[in-house]
């Protein structure tokens, strides 16, 4: 097992910079997600890892070996990686077993060892009865599992996944998320997973690299990204919450109830520190507005099953999102208490 080191990788397409000085250190066996909106350069980064695109600058190293730099380019077939494509990329002229076994054939494996490995890989994704089918006869989820089996059959150093769930419906996604986690737990191989869906990334990855316009916005565990986002952009991209301005704290500081409530009471012009308040940290007092509470008006109510989402407007004019156990009528005056907040870096 070898760690993957991405150092200052840059990729230009003509005048356009798709990836801009990206650096990541990925531990062996780690499940990593590259997350960002479409066009942020995450797929380009994945294709550079695979070796389909040369780098403009920087270096990619796997263990002690340089895979790619400005001078050097190891072709994809010599990198010992595997990839699951968004379109599955199953070869239509081979049946399921041949598709899975093809990487083994290229490694000159044959006979009983070959059969055993293919059977093992198919069993792992629960597709053993489908070995003789052609890929066209399978459903989307089954095709995806064939692609997964093809990845794990050779014991690759790194497995790359390019939006593997984008073509599946919602129910299937949940099931496939489970099989990805299962796959990672069993193989302990290094996984790099590209997605634009934050809930997918949060559910699966050990660490997430959030990308925006080709640059790395934040590189952290899902918990850290949720609780301690670096910028307002990351905060709005991951989870729900409201951005308020306060006088207290500094970027990277957690504010407790007292500091937060006093910091927001100041005049608007003095409040310069942006702070993120998650809806679960807002307490709504529908009936008894106390002296400490801020006053707000209910602007909208959305039923979410287990609770209601309240869209509130503070007296200062700022919008605030809160959860509540009961529906409140629109236009009603309520009191709110902010129990904690996270100070963000101001937008450049």
């Amino acid at each position: 097992m070898a760690g993957l080191k991405i150092a200052g990788v840059t990729k230009h397409f003509g005048d356009q910079t798709a990836v801009d000085a990206l650096s990541l250190d990925i531990e062996p066996g780690e499940f990593v997600a590259l997350l960002g909106p479409s066009g942020c350069g995450k797929t380009t980064m994945l294709r550079m890892l695979a070796g389909f695109e040369p780098l403009s600058q920087g270096e990619i190293r796997l263990g002690g070996r340089t895979l790619a730099s400005r001078e050097q380019h190891v072709p994809p077939e010599q990198r010992n990686m595997a990839m699951v494509f968004q379109s599955y990329a199953l070869w239509p002229h081979m049946n399921v077993a041949d598709n899975v076994g093809y990487p083994l054939k290229l490694r000159r494996l044959s006979g009983e060892a070959y059969q055993r490995q293919v059977a093992k890989a198919l069993a792992m994704v629960a597709l053993a009865p489908y070995a003789e089918r052609s890929p066209q006869e399978l459903s989307g989820g089954q095709r995806q599992r064939v692609a997964l089996a093809r990845c794990l059959v050779t014991d690759p150093d790194v497995v790359l996944l390019d939006e593997p769930l984008a073509n599946l419906d919602r129910h299937l996604r949940a099931a496939m998320e489970h099989s990805f986690r299962d796959f990672h737990r069993r193989t302990r191989s290094t996984l790099v997973y590209v997605t634009h869906d934050q809930s997918e990334a949060m559910a699966l990855a050990d660490r997430i690299a959030v990308m925006r316009d080709g640059r790395l916005e934040q590189w952290a565990t899902p918990e850290t990204l949720y609780r301690q986002p670096r910028t307002a952009w990351v905060a709005s991209f991951i989870g729900q919450g409201s951005l308020l301005n306060v006088t207290a704290g500094w970027p990277g500081k957690r504010l407790e109830e007292a500091a937060l409530m006093s910091g927001i009471a100041a005049a608007v012009t003095e409040r310069t520190q942006p702070v993120l308040v998650r809806p679960e940290h807002v307490r709504v007092l529908p009936d008894a507005p106390s002296a400490q509470a801020l006053r707000a008006q209910v602007e909208g109510v959305t039923f979410r099953g287990e609770r209601y989402e309240l869209h509130l407007r503070l007296e200062s004019g700022e919008a605030l999102l809160a959860y509540h156990h009961a529906a409140l009528s629109e236009g009603r005056q309520v009191g709110v208490i902010l129990r904690e907040g996270w100070c963000l870096e101001p937008e450049a």
Binding site: Q78, Y88, W91, L106
Partner: protein, 566 residues
């Protein structure tokens, strides 16, 4: 597809009527031929079909047709595969020029191809004489042979293989190749184990197309085979008709039926394979793959250029040299060079000029008439149920899919007597050739228009309808401007094919009604190779110019309209 009109029933009826008439007219020649060939079966062993099937010459010509076309197909497969794989898959430079040059032989009329190769080899070759390499007098012309015919058929139909294979290569999703690379396959393994199997059916379809096209080719076996007494089916029909006239029409109809059935069987085979080649591929297709040739790039480029030099540049150079000498057998030097032949062709108002005028007139008016028919026809066809649409298209395609000789014989059968009721005699006039061209080239003009129409979003017309535009108004104000580039390209293609056409007119021309194709053929047969060469040089220049026009138009056209641009 839902009919977009409810109120405009008059408009709908008119279009339907037009469509029915055109489909019927497309079918009539083939039906007439079928009637003639099968009509007298009751006479038993005396019936024309039976006599033809018993004649030894029939089976000899059939075998020779199959042999030359089969060998030609193999040559076309080798050339077409090499160019398609290298140009589509690798990072070779100058792709656009390589494609253009490789496609040019398909658009050069076969009689000109044959003539230029004849000028390249043989003891009288002005080019060989000029560089002092001509074989001694009396040595045989190597091209007057079955293998010579096959070679030229192969070169002429190689672009068909190239196109079919290139299309399936371009539709191959990039991910299939990348998945193999990352599984550990080297470039050569990816090619052999992934690309070749997935695109195999495109390859077979291309081969079938090359075979059919060679089977129906008249110009090449006529120029190379007749002097050697080597007759294939189309030239056998031509020779019989030339010697015996309309007296042997019934037998010729039977022969035509034979070759027509062969060609249609080939078409059916090809379409079946094309259908199988659609795997239902998912992914990002439509993009050339980028195999790196590395240090081989120079060598591979040199190989392709060398092949183009041999199959295109050398024969055309020989043609130009031949057109500049005062007489065959005279080497080209600064003293002998002369433009007399061009003077003769352009300057004198003789038979040459008349043929040029006839061809320009025929091709031009055929293009205009077909352009006028194509838009309403395609518009109505698009609104037919899928099944009927397929049948109507097959009927329209029939006169083009059949070898030209077959269509010519059918047209003679139809018009040898004056048309009843109106009492107009077409036989022996330019009108006969004109009607044959209309039937033959309709599909050439219709296909780009239909492709353009299929690309139009139906909501464009619906929006105009809601704005209050009636059916005719929509056709002229919305549909026509949007398909105009495709329509224009279709007309140009018709002109390009018709102006050089030989196969149909070889049987249908009469004194005073020669076409350009017939003239080149006759000049060469009459020993006037220098004049024929000069005329051919002009024809090639015109073809290249028209192709360039189409290339310039290409960015505004639906994909696949311009055959040499994938």
């Amino acid at each position: 597809m839902t009919p977009a009109l409810t109120g405009g029933s008059q408009h709908r009826w008119l279009l339907t009527l037009l469509m029915l008439v055109i489909v019927a007219l497309s079918l009539v020649p083939s039906l007439r031929l079928l009637m003639e060939a099968l009509g007298d079966l009751s006479q038993g062993s005396e019936s024309p079909l039976w006599r033809v099937l018993q004649a030894e010459s029939t089976w000899r010509a059939l075998w020779r047709s199959l042999y030359t076309s089969g060998l030609g197909m193999l040559i076309a497969l080798v050339l077409g595969c090499l160019f398609a794989f290298v140009i589509t898959l690798t990072d070779i430079r100058g792709k656009a020029w390589l494609v253009f040059c490789f496609m040019l032989p398909m658009m050069i009329p076969p009689q000109v191809t044959a003539l230029s190769w004849l000028q390249l080899f043989g003891p009288a070759s002005p080019l060989l004489k000029s560089i002092g390499m001509a074989p001694p007098l009396g040595s045989p012309q190597p091209l007057y042979s079955a293998e010579g015919i096959a070679l030229l058929l192969g070169i002429q139909s190689a672009p068909l293989v190239f196109l079919a294979l290139r299309t399936s290569l371009l539709s191959l999703p990039r991910e299939l190749v990348e998945a193999a690379r990352i599984s550990g396959a080297r470039q050569a393994q990816v090619w052999g184990q992934i690309i070749l199997p997935v695109t195999r059916s495109g390859l077979i379809a291309g081969g079938a197309m090359a075979f059919i096209s060679s089977l129906g080719n008249f110009g090449i076996p006529a120029m190379l085979g007749i002097p050697a007494g080597y007759y294939v089916l189309p030239t056998l029909i031509y020779q019989r008709m030339a010697s015996f006239g309309t007296g042997v029409l019934a037998e010729m109809a039977s022969l035509s039926l034979l070759i027509g059935v062969l060609a249609l069987a080939g078409v059916a085979l090809q379409q079946a394979w094309m259908k199988r080649s659609r795997f239902g591929l998912v992914g990002h297709g439509g993009r050339a793959h980028d195999f790196s040739l590395g240090r081989w790039r120079g060598g591979v480029t040199a190989l392709l250029v060398a092949i183009l030099l041999v199959i295109l540049v050398a024969p055309l150079a020989a043609l130009v040299v031949s057109s500049l000498v005062p007489a065959m057998g005279v080497p080209l030097t600064w003293e002998t060079v002369t433009l007399n032949a061009y003077h003769e062709v352009i300057g004198r108002q003789g038979a040459t000029w008349r043929a040029v005028r006839n061809s320009l007139w025929l091709a031009g008016s055929a293009a205009v008439v077909l352009m006028l028919c194509s838009v309403p026809l395609a518009y109505r066809l698009q609104r037919l149920p899928r099944r009927w649409q397929g049948l109507a298209l097959s009927a329209i395609e029939l006169p083009y899919a059949l070898p030209g000789v077959v269509l010519a014989v059918a047209c003679i059968l139809l018009f040898v007597r004056p048309i009843p009721v109106v009492n107009v005699a077409l036989y022996g006039t330019l009108g006969l050739i004109f009607v044959a061209y209309l039937a033959r080239f309709l599909v050439v003009c219709l296909k780009p228009v239909a492709a353009g129409l299929a690309q139009l979003d139906p909501s464009l017309e619906e929006a105009a309808q809601l704005a209050g535009a009636g059916p005719w108004r929509r056709l002229s104000g919305i549909v026509l401007p949007l398909v105009a580039p495709a329509l224009f390209a279709g007309g140009l293609l018709v002109f390009l094919l018709a102006v050089n056409e030989l196969t149909v007119s070889a049987l249908l021309w009469s004194a005073g009604n020669e076409t350009l194709g017939v003239l080149i053929f006759n000049l060469d047969e009459g020993g006037e190779s220098v004049l024929a060469s000069a005329l051919s040089v002009l024809v090639v220049a015109m073809v290249a110019a028209l192709m360039l026009c189409l290339s310039l138009l290409a960015p505004r056209l639906p994909r696949g309209v311009v055959p040499w641009q994938g």
